[in-house]
Symmetry: C2
């Protein structure tokens, strides 16, 4: 999967978080009726998809991809309007870049739909099954959720991505994108809908509630019973709001305050590249490292080596006193505060602390981690054992980069996001996480004694 297709769900600081902000009271009634109508239509449409064959769904994905390419000019026009509005409103260059579409990017987005078509269908998989002593034939079968809601920010590629993931997993999708991408999304949803209709599928499989503004997002979060699961994709603020406000079950994704701990027994020559890769290979992503913990016994050899390399890569260090003593000429250094241990920088910043023991490292991680990914560099089997069993995070990595916590890297195919919650899905999520299961029991007159 290419990065443009399945970006990690964590946006950079300053990302547009308007998708879920408080609505004006006047708009609420309209929004309630509108969103509930859309969700009901989605539920109805989802029935057509629940029993659709894989061939039907894959054909629809290809048709959607072809339509995006064929209608690229129309999409780029609408995107131009969003960009112009963004510039007027003083949107930052980095955000304008996330928002911008051109023919190349649209081709990439379309290719991602074709890649989805090539993946196995999660629906219909028999998770487990047996014949019971009384002859009942029991099987647990993977089925679509029904209606998936997505609330996301100003990246129009997510509109297509979400529609494709939902369709492949047999679900209808109700989309709420950031207002900054409203024109682009409107055209994209229309183009995808036209493609579905040409395939004999209901247009209501892919719908947007952007017309209802912020009040619409609130209604989507309240549509329990109509919307089966809500997936927020975006920055920490957006995710926090959705998790707190939603009555619809949420799959929480993305916040990653990830740690690398370099143990006393670490191989320094191996640990330095792991730290560099975890921090600098890509910074604006949830599986990048944000805090480095160094065992006091290895600090004298490890710290000078890693700090020199971090300096070369323009990383700013937020360190404690023991780190300060090792700062090389030209390294940007700030004294670390409590805030640094808590911060997901998503930038070329790294908090660094020297600890006296594995216990102190575990305690630090337990206290400050967001439960995403923790790395240990060690050659000590007991440290491996304790680190892998005593922490409470979605992924624990031994002697490798934190950047491997990724659906593509794990071989799961398409990635919906990286879950930091414990229910339903934890860590990188594939298509199967957009499904649920039904127990099917077949008998021949069995009754309970």
């Amino acid at each position: 999967m290419t990065d443009i297709t399945y970006p990690t769900t964590n946006a950079g600081p300053g990302e547009d978080a308007s998708a879920v902000a408080t609505p004006a009271p006047a708009a609420v009634d309209d929004a309630r009726e509108g969103v509930r109508g859309i969700a009901l239509a989605a539920k109805q449409a989802s029935r057509a998809l629940a029993t659709a064959t894989r061939a039907t769904k894959d054909a629809a994905l290809h048709a959607m991809a072809d339509a995006l390419v064929a209608e690229a000019a129309r999409i780029i026009d609408a995107n131009g309007a969003d960009l112009a509005r963004g510039r007027e409103n003083g949107m930052k260059e980095s955000l304008l870049d996330r928002l911008a579409l051109d023919e190349g990017r649209i081709a990439g987005i379309a290719d991602a739909l074709r890649e989805l078509a090539a993946l196995p269908d999660p629906v219909g998989e028999i998770v487990r099954g047996s014949t019971l002593p009384n002859g009942l034939r029991l099987r647990q079968v993977r089925v679509p959720m029904g209606v998936v809601g997505m609330i996301y920010e100003a990246r129009p590629n997510v509109t297509v991505d979400a529609a494709g993931l939902a369709l492949k997993s047999g679900n209808a999708v109700v989309l709420r994108g950031g207002s900054a991408a409203a024109s682009s999304n409107e055209v994209i949803v229309a183009v995808l809908g036209e493609a579905l209709v040409r395939q004999g599928l209901p247009r209501e499989l892919v719908q947007s509630i952007d017309a209802y503004g912020r009040a619409g997002a609130v209604e989507l979060m309240r549509a329990r019973g109509l919307v089966d699961v809500l997936v927020p994709r975006g920055g920490a603020d957006l995710i926090r709001t959705v998790v707190t406000e939603s009555l619809v079950p949420v799959i929480e994704t993305g916040v990653g305050n990830c740690h690398v701990f370099v143990d006393a027994s670490a191989d320094v020559a191996q640990a330095v590249p792991i730290v560099l890769n975890s921090k600098t290979q890509r910074t604006g992503v949830c599986n990048a490292a944000e805090t480095l913990l160094v065992h006091r016994d290895v600090a004298p050899t490890f710290l000078p080596a890693v700090l020199e390399e971090l300096r070369r890569r323009d990383v700013t260090i937020h360190g404690d006193d023991a780190v300060a003593a090792n700062v090389p000429e030209g390294l940007r250094f700030e004294q670390a505060t409590e805030t640094d241990w808590e911060t997901e920088y998503l930038s070329l910043d790294l908090a660094v602390r020297v600890v006296d023991s594995l216990d102190e490292a575990l305690e630090h991680i337990r206290r400050y981690s967001s439960g995403h990914t923790e790395v240990i560099c060690t050659r000590d089997t007991r440290s491996v054992q304790r680190f892998t069993t005593e922490l409470d995070s979605a992924a624990i990595i031994v002697n490798a980069s934190s950047r491997f916590t990724d659906g593509g890297q794990f071989g799961l195919g398409a990635e919906i996001g990286i879950s930091t919650q414990k229910l339903h899905a934890r860590g990188p999520m594939g298509l199967a996480e957009l499904t649920t299961t039904t127990w099917i029991v077949e008998g021949d007159g069995q009754i309970r004694e």
Copy 2:
């Protein structure tokens, strides 16, 4: 599993729902501090259990069982106080019976803990794993949630049941029982805690927040981040309140408006016992049938046969006009209204409707079902195909009783409840549903290119 040990989670009508009612404002501050303290202590204690071996956990379960039996007199004393208070407050006989403990019932409750000890440990199970192309060794391992919250009603057996299920799955538990069983629960929690301490485990693995009253229940529902999952066990009102109010992720259990559809091609001699068993084998349970739908083509032979048998079993029929025409002498019959289609009677009442087609049956079930269990009696393969794929319920049963939707019947061992939600668990839930997973990745210096 005996019924006293793992009752279905759906209480009868009139069950005490005080566990989650609105608290007095004055009590809220105290409760916040108290409940958060208890949840933090539970989180701390859960760490001891997360790395405990199965042998340690099973020994603790046996010790808890032995302690309950040894302290039966103390428990029965406290239970007597609850019963006396209940009688003073005019509690119904059926509720008093649910509340009452004697030596026999305590022995049964203790035996259930021993049965739990005999079950396999879900923790440590490798769900999937592989070696990635770059040599990283990847495995997804089942781990405890951490802290499980349980909110339930006036059945002291659930206190023990919840403590045992949580312990076996490696979790600490925070309990909020109904006020009607407060004295019994206080002593039971104390006895279980003493047994844990004697085994070298922290008492804080099993704690009650009953002392904080209704305000405590509210705080438990707000303890996101401290409590990992909340399992409400009780009547529909309690479950609805918890689902709506809780910021902690909830596993929703129990409401069962279950249907039996007798298709045109049904074997009448087989369908009659299936209906009787589904309705009358046990009435106060979530997997009992509440509505019978009969295809018009089979009604002339099927309806007289089934109504006569239902009359013999004192079932009251709430039927439409086509049913009314077939009512035998002595059958209690009421004209069905919209309310009947919506009602989970949990009693010897059955709504009956004649439908013109499979489509009409599917439409009825989609509209009124709570998504628990639906049964079809048919000999038509196309009806089986459509019924098993076009409905949206946790269990679909072909030619057998609805009463089979049960963890024990499905061979899952202990049953936590029957989930009617789609996230995390659907249908009968075993111990594995009280766990989550961690991805463990082991490498030798791998970094991402």
